[in-house]
């Protein structure tokens, strides 16, 4: 187990971190050399390398600087402080979860409609598929501004974008899932003279659960991206997207990287959480490994 799967991953991660440290040296050296020329001092090679890993505003911060900043802004700050990443992360997370909930609910409802009505299937389904090929995120700035001008602001506009992004993967996945029972199973329910509602509850919905979770994993990652991008265009002051934007305005590279890692950790956590719920649900439903 260790030798076959964990060791290779650790080796690859080790190489990535080593490469990262190595890249820091040429990326950050230019600034040091400039400073030295101005002051007329000189440095040995070792001093150069150490300096490139400990600048205050490096072009590429070293891994330990990012880790220190992450530690500093999560554990060391109180969660209500505006400098705490937990605070900003929560703002983004709450918009993500609200939007994800709305998007998933609407997606499941539309999928049920599509499976039960041929008209709806033929009218709506092609558009749901086409909509996956277009960069929906382009409308994020407009949604924010339009909702702002009708007086809605704060959490909801970002949640709308998140909902929109998680909506279509769920529709497409759920339609596939609700259609997954084969003709024999549907016929069996017909011989029981099951009603439409019974067929939905007893056969189609349980059969669609694996498909639903596959779409939920895509949807939750898309929701987080939506919430982060939703924070960009208005110059929001709270949330992970706002931290990215503020960092890029003021050249605070360490802040950008720590916000980026916070977003990555959040995304990984959400996907893993969905995966755990999936495993528990499938086991409860009687799946054997």
């Amino acid at each position: 187990m260790f030798k076959r799967s964990i060791l290779p991953v650790l080796a690859v991660l080790g190489v990535i971190i080593a490469l990262w440290y190595a890249t820091c040296i040429p990326m950050n050296a230019a600034w040091t050399i400039q400073q030295l020329e101005r002051s007329g001092e000189t440095m040995t090679t070792t001093e150069h390398i150490v300096d490139s890993w400990s600048q205050e505003r490096p072009r590429l911060p070293a891994p330990h600087q990012v880790a220190a900043e992450l530690w500093d802004t999560t554990v060391m700050k109180s969660v209500t402080s505006k400098k705490s990443l937990v605070y900003h992360g929560w703002i983004t997370l709450s918009a993500t979860l609200l939007g994800f909930g709305i998007g998933t609910t609407l997606g499941v409802l539309l999928a049920i409609g599509i499976v039960h009505s041929r008209t709806m299937d033929m009218s709506v389904m092609p558009w749901a598929i086409v909509s996956q090929t277009i960069p929906i995120i382009a409308i994020a700035p407009m949604i924010i501004v339009v909702l702002y001008s009708v007086g809605v602001q704060g959490l909801l506009p970002k949640a709308v974008i998140s909902a929109y992004l998680s909506f279509f993967p769920v529709v497409v996945g759920m339609v596939k899932g609700l259609r997954s029972p084969d003709a024999m199973q549907l016929d069996l329910l017909r011989t029981y003279s099951a009603s439409n509602a019974q067929r939905l509850w007893l056969l189609r919905l349980p059969a669609s659960v694996p498909y639903l979770f596959a779409s939920l994993k895509i949807g939750v990652a898309a929701s987080l991206v939506g919430a982060i991008v939703g924070e960009l265009p208005t110059g929001a002051v709270r949330g992970l997207g706002a931290r990215l934007l503020a960092g890029s305005y003021y050249g605070q590279t360490v802040q950008i990287w720590s916000a980026l890692f916070a977003a990555a950790i959040l995304a990984a956590g959400l996907v893993i959480l969905v995966g755990l719920i999936e495993r528990m649900t499938l086991r409860k439903m009687g799946e054997r490994p």
Binding site: R118, P126, W127, S248, A268
Partner: protein, 281 residues
Amino acid sequence: MIYIVGALILWAMGWGLNARLANGPHAKRRTVQIAVPVIFGVTILLIWELIVRGLSVPLVILPPPSMIAATFGQSLPILWADFVQTFVKGALSGFFIGGLAAFLLAIVVDRYDFLRRGLLPVGNFMAALPIVGTAPILVMWFGFDWQSKAAVVVVMVFFPILVNTVAGLRDTSDMQRDLMRTYGASYGQTLFKLRLPAAMPFIFNGLKIATTLALVGAIVAEFFGSPTLGMGFRISTSVGQLALDMVWAEIVVAALAGSFFYGAIALIEKGVTFWHPSQRT
């Protein structure tokens, strides 16, 4: 009021027509299958127009489709320049560089089992992360012009293509590989004659996912700084000026570019993987 009533009647008519077509005897015909979604789309556009006029919705909330079309027609030169800047220079070049790099790395990874075990979980993990977030860093490194957008696109398309190509290269059965061995085929021959062709459906799946990501990356990267043209730049500045008709025109461009890009890849796929069951009808 008359507009609203018109919208309701139109909705009933469009839906009724579609219901008859979809449940009628010719529902399986190709013309009907194209006509139904088109009728639905046109109905939605007309209802949008009527409702915006009927309720006199302010232009800063929702401009009517006719106005968007007019803006689209009037500002074709601007839209074209934005399209070239964002799509041709940013998204396409990044797509090619990222796709090629991922493809080559996938072949190396596939050769060494240790690398595959190590890189694949990392790649899968990276593919789920909000990589758009690297945009501010890359804009800082590569400047405001299209190079930084291409760099964002490279990072975004890299992991889906890598993961799919590696999965595809393993999609041959032992029997097929044994057959190649009995022919005395070298590694290169097995790769080019058996495993790469067998991997094509997977590779194209990755490429199709990457088409949307490429456009998203190029547009979002412009929110962090760009020269005074580009689709993302135009969207964010027009939103600031409350010129929503221009924003919608730009969204139409983005939608068209995305659909055609996807369509082009799907068309190439059809030519390359003509042997695959999913392409035979």
